[in-house]
Symmetry: C2
Subunit: 133 residues, 2 copies
């Protein structure tokens, strides 16, 4: 199983081993596997973490902003993390972040498939790594 799809040039050397900062270069692209969301996953997550009618009930959702059942944005964020971990770049030390920006450009509906396409835009060492307490 190939853990990560990288450019053909880099594939031979990086696919099986962990990637360190020095192994990444600007413009490098990674594409994860796909995850298909269904109604039961959407409702189960929402009942636990985002119990609003547009995420928990397809009928009630019709009378809301979303017009139909839609996944919680935190659900799609969490799935994105799983795609990163399972089939994203195999980063040494794991996927750890101290901050980030999110945007949800369109609702995710039952039956939609998600995948994570990622490219390196800049490369620098963090100046203030998260303090482990």
């Amino acid at each position: 199983m190939t853990l990560v799809q990288v450019s053909s040039e880099a594939a031979a050397s990086t696919a099986p081993q962990q990637l360190y900062l020095d192994d990444l270069h600007v413009g490098q692209r990674f594409t994860s596997g796909a995850h298909r969301l269904d109604e039961s996953q959407i409702k189960a997550f929402a009942r636990q973490f985002d119990p609003q009618p547009f995420h928990t009930d397809e009928h009630a959702a019709e009378r809301t902003f979303f017009k139909a059942l839609a996944a919680s944005g935190w659900h799609t964020a969490a799935i994105t993390m799983r795609l990163n971990v399972e089939s994203g770049p195999p980063l040494a030390g794991g996927f750890v972040g101290a901050a980030g920006e999110l945007s949800w450009s369109a609702p995710t509906r039952p039956g939609d498939s998600m995948l994570r396409a990622k490219s390196s835009k800049s490369r620098r060492r963090a100046r203030d790594p998260i303090a482990a307490r």
Copy 2:
């Protein structure tokens, strides 16, 4: 049960009813109830969405950046959403966002309690509401 704590001035008029944009003012503060995280919640979320050793195994976590078991940042984000929905300001139409910034200033450990303190910093109508498809 009071769903939301607002300034005493506003409490009488806003506590039981839904809040619209015109009901919010800059500087208004809301504080949610609290949620206590434990080891089993941390591991259950991580197994499903962020299966990395520092989130799933307290022994393996000792040899990682986090030094001990820590909750996934996406887990704490999701709990924050639940605190918003259940005991945050009762926003008319619900909590819906198209974008946001996140930061995790310190790891969340088993036994830590979370609550959501929120204050209105600016108030404006969205120019480009998320397109419902």
